[in-house]
Amino acid sequence: MNWLSSLTTPAGLATGAFVMVVAMTMLGALIAVAARNIFHNVLGLALSLIGVAGLFLYLNSPFVALMEILIYVGAICIAICFAIMLSAPMYLPPPPRHPLKILGALAGAGLVFAFLALLTKKTTWVAAPARSDDWSITTIGHYLLTNYVLIFEVISLLLVVAMLGAIVNARAGRGSS
């Protein structure tokens, strides 16, 4: 009963919500890679991305959290749904997977995980000596149009090229009408 009463304090509530967000992220990621049905994969990805947006809220930036939901859940997941509907029919059973390959993939991902976890554990992180606490969206806008204006413009060019390329690529072989 002790932890239950601690849940009603603000700090306890924040911790409980954080645990829920983390559970959402991890559960969604597991569904996204482990489920056999490709449509369940997309739904798991959407769940995981909403969880990541919650993590961004905890990292003090509601703007990026909103952009995450808008771009990833709203645009990319929907685009993937369209691709699923336009490609292989879902009622066909997926081909069986070789268990040795699954084991190899598990081993590879596990090795990378162990290495990076060790690296994270061994490193001592040093904060910058002078830190500003200006979290406003206005400052982000200023940075986008002053310090990072070249990257900003190049990325808009990249988006145009990517869209044109996607259209051309997907139209190929459809006749010359």
């Binding site: 991890m26 990805l45 685009a79 993937i80 992180w125 982000i140 940075y143 990257i151 990249l158």
Partner: protein, 105 residues
């Protein structure tokens, strides 16, 4: 010190997400599933940027700007990858990686 106010918490979360995505890229045979796993990996990178931005960086706008750039590049990447998947499906009648072997030497 609350658990959500520590840098290491977020680093380990991003690490787990990265490992799950890497497993998906290595194990899945469906092209769309591979794309989904790549999105997970990109999100792990975003979480890392935002965590360093929150706890270490000299100015808190920089990490957010970089995360926005990651999202834009991920959107471009998803559009291109989905169009390639459509083209592959039209040619091979399948989205299985192991059947797309025409460039094998």
């Amino acid at each position: 010190m609350m658990v959500f106010n520590q840098l290491e918490t977020y680093l380990y979360l991003a690490l787990i997400l990265f490992a799950i995505g890497l497993y998906g890229v290595l194990a899945r045979r469906n092209l769309i599933a591979v794309l989904i796993s790549v999105e997970l990996i990109l999100n792990a990178a975003s979480i890392n940027f935002m965590a360093f931005n929150r706890f270490l960086a000299p100015h808190p706008a920089v990490g957010q700007v970089i995360t926005l750039f990651i999202m834009a590049v991920a959107a471009a990447e998803a559009a291109i990858a989905l169009s390639i998947i459509m083209a592959v499906y039209r040619k091979l009648k399948s989205v299985n990686i192991e059947q797309a072997t025409e460039l094998r030497g």
